[in-house]
Symmetry: D2
Subunit: 457 residues, 4 copies
C-alpha cells in the first residue's frame, strides 16, 4: 500500500517499487525531515488548521521517531517509498488518525527540497570547519619550515629557489578561496522552500517566515515554482566541493612525487602510508593517492547532477530524485579528504638535508640573467647569454656556480667580479621580497596575514 494510490487500480510492480525507492539514499535526511515536520505541524497549529492538542501529539510522536532514529532503533519497511512516507507511516502507526493530518497543505516536493537544503547547510559548514583546520596545519608547517630553502619547480624541473614556507602558504591562501566558495554555497542553500506546496503554494494560511526562523533559514523562496524546481544550490555545492577536490589533488601530486626515493624531500608518517601485500619493503603514500584519485569522484558527481538537471522542465519530475546521492557523497568525501590531508601535513617529515643537497646551481640562472639586466643588458639578450652558458655547463658537466669570472666573460663582457654574489641562496631569496614573493620579509608578512585568517575562523 502506498500513500497515494486512491486513483490507481493496479498495484505498483515489485521491480518498480525497488527502482523508485529513494529510502536507501534519503534516510540520510531523517533528522532534517523530522525537524521540518515538527515545524510544519506547529505552523498548521498557528494557522488553526490543527488544534493545539493535535500539534502536541504530532510533535511528541515525531520526537519519539527522532529519538529512535538517533539510537539506531528505527526500522524501515522494505517498501517505504521514501523518508517522508516512512516517517508519516510510523507517526500514524504511533498516534493514529491525527498523524494523517500532518501532510495537510504540504507536498513532498517542497518537503524534500527543504530537507535537502538543511542537510547541505549543515554538512557544508562542517567542511568549512575542516578547511580551517587544514589551514592551521599549514600555518604551523610554514612557521616551522621558513628557513628550509628548497627548489621551486615548474614543469617538474628545478626553476628558482624558494623557502619551503612559500609552498605551504600557497596552499593556505588557496584554501581561503575554497572557504569563500563553501560559504557562498551555504548562502545559496539557505532559502526555505517549505510552503510552496506541490508547485503553486500552500492553500493554507501558513506563516512561512516563522517556519524559516524555527528551522534556521535566513530567507524563504520568493516563488513557489522556483522553490520546488530549483536545484542550483546543489550544483553550486557540488562545484565548491569539486574545487576543493581539485586543489587537494594538485598538492597531493607534489607530495607523492616528493615522497619518492628519487626526490626524497619528504616522508609520510607511517600512520598515513600503507604497505604492499607482496613487496615487504614498500611504504606507499596511499593517503595522498586516494585524495588524488577521489578528486575524480567530485568531478563525476558534478557532471552527474548537471546533466541530470539539463532539460528537466518545471515544476518537478522524478529525475530530480537523483540529486541527493552525488551531493551526499561529495560532502562525505570532501570532509574525509580534508581531514586526512590535515593529518598528513601535520605529521609529515621534511627531510632538510636531502632538500639542501638537491639544490641545483641552475636555480641561479634567472638571477644571473637579472645580474646582466642590472648591467643594462636588455633582458631578452641576457636570457640568451645565460641560456648559452647553461648549455655549456650541461655539455661539460659543470655547475653554473663553478664557472670562473673569466669563463663567464667569454659569454659576455658584462660580467665582472661581483657576479660571484649571485650564487648565494639566501641572497636569491632576499631579492624576492616583492609582495607575495619568497623573500623572508614577504613570507613574514604572509604569515602575519595567514594568522589573521586562521584566528578569525
Amino acid at each position: 500500500m502506498t500513500m497515494w494510490d486512491g486513483r490507481f487500480t493496479n498495484k505498483p510492480d515489485k521491480l518498480m517499487l525497488d527502482f523508485n525507492a529513494s529510502l536507501p539514499v534519503d534516510q540520510a535526511l531523517a533528522d532534517e525531515d523530522i525537524a521540518g515536520s515538527i515545524a510544519w505541524a506547529k505552523a498548521l497549529g498557528r494557522a488553526r488548521v490543527l488544534s493545539a492538542r493535535e500539534v502536541q501529539r504530532i510533535v511528541a510522536g515525531l520526537k519519539r521517531i527522532l529519538r529512535k532514529h538517533r539510537s539506531g532503533t528505527l526500522h524501515f519497511r522494505a517498501h517505504d517509498e521514501d523518508i517522508h512516507m516512512a516517517v508519516e507511516r510510523m507517526l500514524t502507526e504511533d498516534i493514529g488518525e491525527t498523524g494523517a493530518k500532518l501532510h495537510t497543505g504540504r507536498s513532498r516536493n517542497d518537503q524534500v527540497a527543504t530537507d535537502f537544503r538543511m542537510f547541505a547547510k549543515k554538512r557544508l559548514s562542517a567542511v568549512h570547519g575542516a578547511l580551517c583546520d587544514l589551514q592551521k596545519s599549514l600555518l604551523k608547517r610554514a612557521e616551522r619550515d621558513m628557513s628550509v630553502i628548497a627548489p621551486g619547480y615548474t614543469h617538474l624541473q628545478q626553476a628558482q629557489p624558494i623557502s619551503l614556507a612559500q609552498y605551504w602558504l600557497s596552499f593556505l591562501f588557496a584554501l581561503e578561496r575554497e572557504k569563500t566558495r563553501v560559504q557562498n554555497a551555504i548562502a545559496s542553500a539557505d532559502v526555505m522552500p517549505l510552503g510552496s506546496g506541490a508547485l503553486a503554494g500552500s492553500a493554507f494560511p501558513i506563516n512561512r517566515q516563522a517556519i524559516a526562523r524555527e528551522l534556521g533559514f535566513s530567507r524563504v523562496c520568493e516563488n513557489s515554482m522556483d522553490g520546488v524546481a530549483s536545484r542550483d544550490f546543489a550544483l553550486e555545492a557540488l562545484a565548491a566541493l569539486s574545487s576543493i577536490g581539485v586543489l587537494l589533488s594538485r598538492y597531493a601530486e607534489d607530495l607523492i612525487i616528493w615522497s619518492s626515493r628519487e626526490f626524497g624531500l619528504v616522508e609520510l608518517d607511517d600512520a598515513w602510508a600503507t604497505g604492499s601485500s607482496m613487496m615487504p619493503q614498500k611504504k606507499n603514500p596511499d593517503s595522498l593517492e586516494l585524495i588524488r584519485g577521489k578528486c575524480a569522484r567530485f568531478i563525476g558527481n558534478y557532471t552527474r547532477c548537471a546533466s541530470m538537471l539539463k532539460g528537466v522542465g518545471l515544476t518537478y519530475y522524478k529525475d530530480l530524485q537523483e540529486d541527493k546521492e552525488p551531493l551526499i557523497d561529495s560532502l562525505a568525501q570532501a570532509m574525509a579528504g580534508v581531514q586526512v590531508f590535515t593529518q598528513v601535513v601535520r605529521t609529515l617529515r621534511v627531510k632538510a638535508k636531502v632538500i639542501a643537497a638537491s639544490l641545483d646551481s641552475f636555480l641561479f640562472a634567472t638571477d644571473l640573467a637579472d645580474y646582466l639586466v642590472h648591467k643594462k643588458m636588455p633582458f631578452r639578450q641576457a636570457h640568451k647569454v645565460v641560456g648559452r652558458i647553461v648549455a655549456h655547463c650541461v655539455e661539460h658537466g659543470v655547475g653554473l656556480d663553478e664557472l670562473t669570472v673569466k669563463q663567464l666573460r667569454e659569454f659576455s663582457a658584462a660580467f665582472s667580479r661581483d657576479v660571484r654574489r649571485v650564487f648565494d641562496w639566501k641572497r636569491a631569496l632576499s631579492a624576492r621580497n616583492v609582495e607575495g614573493g619568497t623573500g623572508m620579509k614577504s613570507i613574514a608578512r604572509q604569515i602575519q596575514r595567514a594568522r589573521g585568517l586562521v584566528s578569525s575562523n
Copy 2:
C-alpha cells in the same frame, strides 16, 4: 594489525583505515575473489610450490568461506582492509598456517584486476540478456501496432505520418548496436592478469593458461605491467553502459511527453506509474522519468573513471581503487533500467483513437511538394509553393486537405484534380517502402529481420 606492516613502526591512524578501506565496495567481488584464490592455490600446487595436501586444505577452506558468503553469514571485521585481506584472514583463522601460503607469488595488484574483470564479464552478460528481452518486448509491440498510423515528429512538431511500428523498430535496431558494444566490452574484459604479480610477473613457474581456462578467461595478458595497470576495459564497459543509458533516456523522453494529457497517445500501466502525496488526481510516469534521470549517473560514472585514470602513471597507484564503485553502480543501474523499460513497453496502452484524432493535415505537406515534383517542378520551388499554401491555411485556420483544387491552383498551375489522392494516410505510408522506410512492406521486412535478431539471442 595489517598484513603488510613488517617494515612499519607506527600503526595506521583510525581515520586512515577508514579512508583507505575498500571493503564496503569490493565485497561485491567476493565470489570472484574466492574463485580466483581457489584457482591460484591449484596453480601453486601444479607448480609444486604447495603440496597436494596444502592445496586441498586451502581449497576446502575457501569453499567454506564461499558458502558462508552466499548464505549471508560471513562477518567482516571493521578494519579488514579489502576483500583480499579479509578472505586471507578468514582462511588463516580457519586452517592455520597453511592459509598464510596462499598469497605466494601473487600480489593484490594482479588479484584485484582479475576479480574485477570476472565480475565485469558476468554482469555485462546479464545486461546483454536484458537488452535482448527489451528487444523482444519491442518486437511484440511493433507487430501489434503496425496498423496504427501516428504522427512522426521532428522538433516535437508533427512532420510526416508513420506506422507506430516504425517507432518501436527504431528502438529495437538501436538496441542491437548497444548489444554489440556490450559484447565488445566483454571481450575486452576477457583477458586474465593473474600471474602478473605486483608488476613484473610472478617469480614462481605458474601456468597462467591453465588458470585462465579454470576461471573462464579466453586469454591471458601479454605483459605483466599492462596487466596490472590497465583499466581501459572498465572505461569501455562504462562507455557501453552510458550509451545504453542515453538511448533509454531518449525514448523515455518521448513516452513521458506522449503520456501527457495534451498528447495522450499512450498511457502507462498503473504498475509503472506513481501518484502524488498531495494531488489525488496525479498519475505520473515516474518509471520513465527515473530512467531519464539515471542516464546522468552513467555519464557521471564514465567521467569519474576517466578523470581518475587520467595522468595516473604505471604500474599501480591507490587512485585505481576508485575504479570499482562507478562500474558496479552503472552495471546495476543499467540492468534495472533496461528491465523496467521492458515492462513499461510490454504493459503500455496505445490509445489508437487519440492517435488517429491527432493526425494533422499538414503531415501531408511533404507529399504535396513531392506531388509537384512528379509534375516536374524543381523540389526547392515546390517546397516554397507548399510553404505558402501552409501559411495560407494557418492564417485562415483551415486544413491542408480542405483546400479545393481551385484554391490550390492559385498557388501553382501544376495542381490538377489528381491532387486529392495525396491526402490519404495509407497512400502516404505506402510511398515510403524504400529500404528502412515506414511503408508497410518495408516494415514487414524490418520485422522479419528483427525476428532473426531476437531469435538468435
Copy 3:
C-alpha cells in the same frame, strides 16, 4: 627562432610547434595582454629598471600594436608561440632593442594568469548584464500574463492551476541567483598575479598595488606560487556559466513542449524559429533547442577544465594552457544563449484561448481534498477519497466538476452543497496567497520585488 632557445641545440620540430602553439586560442586575450604590458613597462619605470624614455617608447609601441589589433590589421606569424611572444616580437621589430627589455622581471606564467583574469572579469560582467536584460524581459511578460490562468505541471501532468505570471517569475527569481554566482566568479577573478614572476616573485622592486590599480584589479595575490598556479577562478566561472546553461535548458524544454501542436500554449515568433529543408509546413523552435543542446557544452567545458587541473602539481605545467579554450567558449555561448532567450521571451505569443481551453477539471483535485480537510477530515484520508472520485471520473469519462453533490456524497458524507464553490479557477488561485504562492496578491508582491531587483541593475 623562439624567444627561449639559448640553451637548446636542436630546433623544435614543426609538429611540436603546431602542437604547442596557443596563439589560435590566446589571441582572444590580445587586448588584455597589451594593457598588461603597458602597465608592466610603467611599473619597471617607477622601479627605475627602465628609463622614462624607454617606458615611453615601449608604451607608444604597444599602443600602436593595440590599434592595429583593433583595426584587424595585426599579422601574426605561423609560429608565434603565443600572444605574449607575438606581442614582444612585434614590439621589438617596431622599436628595436628597447622592446627586448619589456620582459624584465616578468614571466609568461604571471603574465598569462593576469591576462586571463582580466578577460574573464570583462566577459563575466557582460554576461551579468545580459542576465539583467533577460530578467527585464521576464518581468514584462509576467506583468502582461498575470491574468492568464494556466495549468501548472509536475511530471508533465496537469497538477494545479497557476497564473502564467507565476511561471515567468520563477525564472526571474532563479536568474537572480545566477547573477550572484557570476558576481562571485568576478570577485574570484579580481586578484592580480602579476609580479609573481615564474613562481617565486619578481626580483625587481615592483609596486604591485600600483599595477593592480592601473589594470582595474581590486587585490593582488598574497603568494607568488599560488598566483601562478591557481586556476580555481576559471573553474568557478565555468561552474557559474554551467549553472546558467542548466537553468536555460530547463525553461527551454518547457517552451519547446508548449510550442507543440498538441500543447499549443505558446508560439515562437518567426524570427526565432526555423523551417525544414524537406517539409514545407514545419516551424521548429530551433532557438530553444539550441539553448537546450548547448547546455551540454557548458557541462563538458567544466568537466574538461576540472579534469585537466586534477593532479597537476605546482607551480606551472603546460597542461594549464588548456584552461582558456573552455572558458572562452562558455563565456561566448552563455552570452549568446541568454540574449537569444531574452528575445524569445519578448516576442513569444501566448495563446490565451488555447490555454484556457486546456485547463482540466482534475486541476481542482487538491482543492477538493483541501475542502474535505476544512470539513475536518484528515488530509491523508481526504486524499484517498478524492483519488477514488478521480478514478471514477476517469472510468466514466466525466470531469471532476461535472459530478453532482449527490454523486460526491457517495464517496464521502462530508461533501455538502458548498462544494460547488471549489470549482472556480480564480478562487483556486486566490487560495494561494501565501508568500511565494500563485495567488494574485502574492504575484503582485513578487512583481514589486522583481521590479526592485531589475531597476537596481
Copy 4:
C-alpha cells in the same frame, strides 16, 4: 533568404542566424557533403526522378564546387545556414534551376548524418594508422632497451627490477586494444542513413544499397527513424578517442617524472621540449604535458556529447547539431597527440648510467621473501621477516644487499649462505619468465608477438 521560408512571415533575426549557423563547424564536412550529393543525384537519375542530362549537370557543378573547396577558393556567405544549404546555393547559382532539383526526396536530417559518418570513418582510420606508428616506435625502443635493467615502480616507489623493454611493451600491447576500439567505432559509423528522408524514408524509389556502395558504406540503416536520430556511433568514437587520451596521459606522466633532474632516467630531445621566457636554464617536457593536459579535452568532449544526447527525443531536434564540434576536435587532437608521442618515444634519450645507479637494493625484497618461501616458510611470514629486515636497514642506513648472512639469520634461521645469490639483478629478472613477465625469455616472446601485430598493420 533561407531555403525553407515559404511558410514564414518574418525573417529570422540576425542574432538567430548567428546562433543557428553551423557552417563554421560543419564546413569540415564539405568533401563528404559534396560526395554525398553526387551519389544522391546519380541515385535520383537511376530512379528516373532526374534525367541523365540533369544528373550530368548537377554532378559537373558539384565537382566544380569540390575543386574550388580543395583549392581554398570557395566563398561562403555570412548567412549560409550550414554546409548543405551553402552547397545547394552555390550549385543553383552555377547551373540554375536544375540545382533546385538536387534536394528531391532527401532531408538535411539524413544528409548530415551521412556526411558525419563518412567523416568519422575517414578520420578514425587515420588515427588507427597513427596508433600503428606509435607501436612501431615502441617496438624499436623495446628492442633497443632490452638489456636496460630499471626500477619498476608502484606508487612511485621502487618496487621490483624490470627490463626497460617490459615498460615499452606494456604501452605497445595496451595500444593494440585502443586500435580494436577504433576499429569497432569505424564499424559502428559504417552504416548509411541516406534515404531515410526527414524521418519516414524517402518517397522516391531510391536504391539505397547502390548509394552505399558508391560512398563506401558497408551497410544501410535498417530503419529510417533510427537512421536520422541515432548518434551512438559518435559517442562510441568519442569514447574510443577518450580511452586513447587516457592511455597517453598515463605514460606521459611517467616520462615527465622520469625527465626531472631528480629521477633523470630519460631526456627528451630538444625538438620536443621547450624553454622558459624567464628562466634560461629550463628545458621543459611540454610535449608530454600537453598530451597529459589534452586528455581532459577528450573527457570533456565525451561528457558534452553524452549529456547533449540525454533526453533528446526522436526523431531530430536541433540539439543534435552540437554533436559535430566535439568529435571533430577529439579526432584532430587524438591524431596530433599520438603523432607527437611517436616522435617523443623515437627521439628519447634513455640515460642508462643514471638508471643503473638508481637501482635500490630494496628492489630485492620480494625476491628475499620468495627465497624464504623456497625454504618452506609461509609467504605471509616471509613477508613479515623481510619487512623487519627492511625496517632495520632503513634505520641503520644500509642496503639490503649489504647485510651479512649472519645479520640476516638474526631475523630468521631459514637464511643460509646461498642467500647471496638473491642479490643479482639478472637473476631477479630471469626468475620472471612466466608468460608476460619481465624475464628475458618472456620479453623475447613478447617482442616476437609485437612484431606480428606491427607487421600486420
